[in-house]
Amino acid sequence: MLSHFIEEEGLPTTGISLIRPHTEVIKPPRALWVAFELGRPMGPPNNAAFQKRVMMSLLRLLEAPSGPLLEDFPDDEPESSDELTVLACPENFYQAATETMETDLLESAFRQEINALRPWYDMAVAKRKRTTVGVSGIDIEALWHFIYTFVVGKEPENPRKDLSLAYMLKFAVEDLKSYYIEGITAEPSQEGVSSQVLQDWFWDETKAGQVLLELKKVCEASPDKMMNMIGGHFIVPGEVARRKVE
C-alpha cells in the first residue's frame, strides 16, 4: 500500500512482506516474503550475517527489470541453542504464586520482583548501550506504583499533559515489558532465548504478567472507552489472552 503510493510519486521501493496473502492482494512493486514472526522483519537479533543476507535479497529486487515481484527468502530464523533454556529467576520470584493472591501480597511480590531484576536490567543497558524503556517517561522506580494503582481500581496522577491516562498506562505497560525482557536476557547464556520462551516466562511465571492480566480485567470494566480498548486489545497479546481464558 505504502509502496504503491511512493512509487506513484516516482521513487523505487522494495519492502519486506510478513503476511504473504496480504502482499498477494496488494501487489507492491517489489516485496521479499520472510518466514520470521511478526515484529521481526529482518529476522533474529544479534545475527548480523543473517540480517545482511536478508538485506541483500531485499536490495537485489531493485535491480530487476520489471515487476511486480514477490520473492521468498529461503531460510527460517536459525534455531537457537538456547531454545530450551529454563529462564533462571531470583529466588523470591517463586514465592507462592496462587491465582487468588490478595492484592496487597501481589503488590509487594510485584515490587520485589522488579527490584530483583534491577541488577540484570542495569547489566543489559551497560552491555547493549541502549534501552527501549522510556516511552512513558515514568522512572523505573515509579512504574510499579503507576500501574498497580489502576489494578486496585484507582487513578494515579497523570505525570504528563500531552497524553491521556489510558495512553500513559499503555506506554507504562510496554516500558515494564521492556524492562523485564531486557533484564532477563542479560542473565548468563540467555541473550538468544526465543520469543516464545520469553513470552511464556513473562505471562506464566512472573508477578508482572499476573498484574497485567488483572489490569486487563480492570480496564475492560472501565467506563472509559479508551481504557476499554487498551485493556481489550493492547495490554495482553491475543494468543496469551485466549490461552488464559480457555
Binding site: 510478513l18 521481526r40 529482518m42
Partner: protein, 153 residues
C-alpha cells in the same frame, strides 16, 4: 511469517484484515545499487526518545528519524501487543536495520544513506489515506533518495 505456525484464531484474525488492491501498477527503476541513496520507512511506531509517542490520531501521521541516530535514540510506541518485541529489545536492526545499511555503504555495495528516515504506527484511524504517504515521498525526493526500503512489523 508462517501462518501455519500460529493458532487458528490468530490466523483467522490476521487473514480478516482488508487489504487494498490497485488497478494501476507503478514501477520506477533506478541506477545500480552502488549509486543508490537509501531511506527506511518503518511502520513499527519508532521515534526519538524525546519525541511524542504515537496515538490513534489520523492527523498525526509520521515521525522523522535523523540519519545519524544511534541505537539508544529510538523507542517504540506502537499500540499493538501481538507482534514480537523481544527481538527489537535486544537489537534495533531486527526492525530498523540501519547498522546493516551503514556497513553496506562502507563496503561500497550501496551509495549512501538518506539524511532522514520515516516511521509511522500501523494502528491508526485511517489506514489507507495516501496524502501523508505522498508527503513523505516528496520529502524523500528533496533528500535525493532513489531507493526506499519498507519494514513492517
Amino acid at each position: 511469517m508462517r501462518l501455519e505456525k500460529v493458532s487458528e484464531a490468530e490466523r483467522k484474525m490476521l487473514l480478516s484484515f482488508k487489504c487494498p488492491s490497485f488497478e494501476t501498477q507503478p514501477w520506477v527503476s533506478g541506477p545500480p545499487l552502488n549509486q543508490r541513496r537509501v531511506a527506511i520507512i518503518t511502520t513499527a511506531g519508532l521515534h526519538g526518545r524525546q519525541d511524542r509517542p504515537f496515538q490513534m490520531d489520523p492527523d498525526d501521521f509520521y515521525r522523522v528519524i535523523p540519519g545519524d541516530v544511534q541505537a539508544n535514540g529510538l523507542v517504540m510506541s506502537h499500540l499493538a501487543a501481538s507482534f514480537d518485541r523481544t527481538g527489537f529489545y535486544r537489537d534495533w536492526n531486527v526492525v530498523f536495520p540501519l547498522d546493516r545499511l551503514r556497513e553496506l555503504v562502507s563496503e561500497g555495495v550501496i551509495g549512501s544513506l538518506a539524511d532522514f528516515h520515516y516511521s509511522y504506527n500501523s494502528v491508526r484511524a485511517q489506514p489507507n489515506a495516501p496524502e501523508p504517504i505522498r508527503e513523505i515521498a516528496s520529502l524523500l525526493k528533496k533528500d535525493s533518495v532513489n531507493a526506499v526500503l519498507l519494514f513492517p512489523v
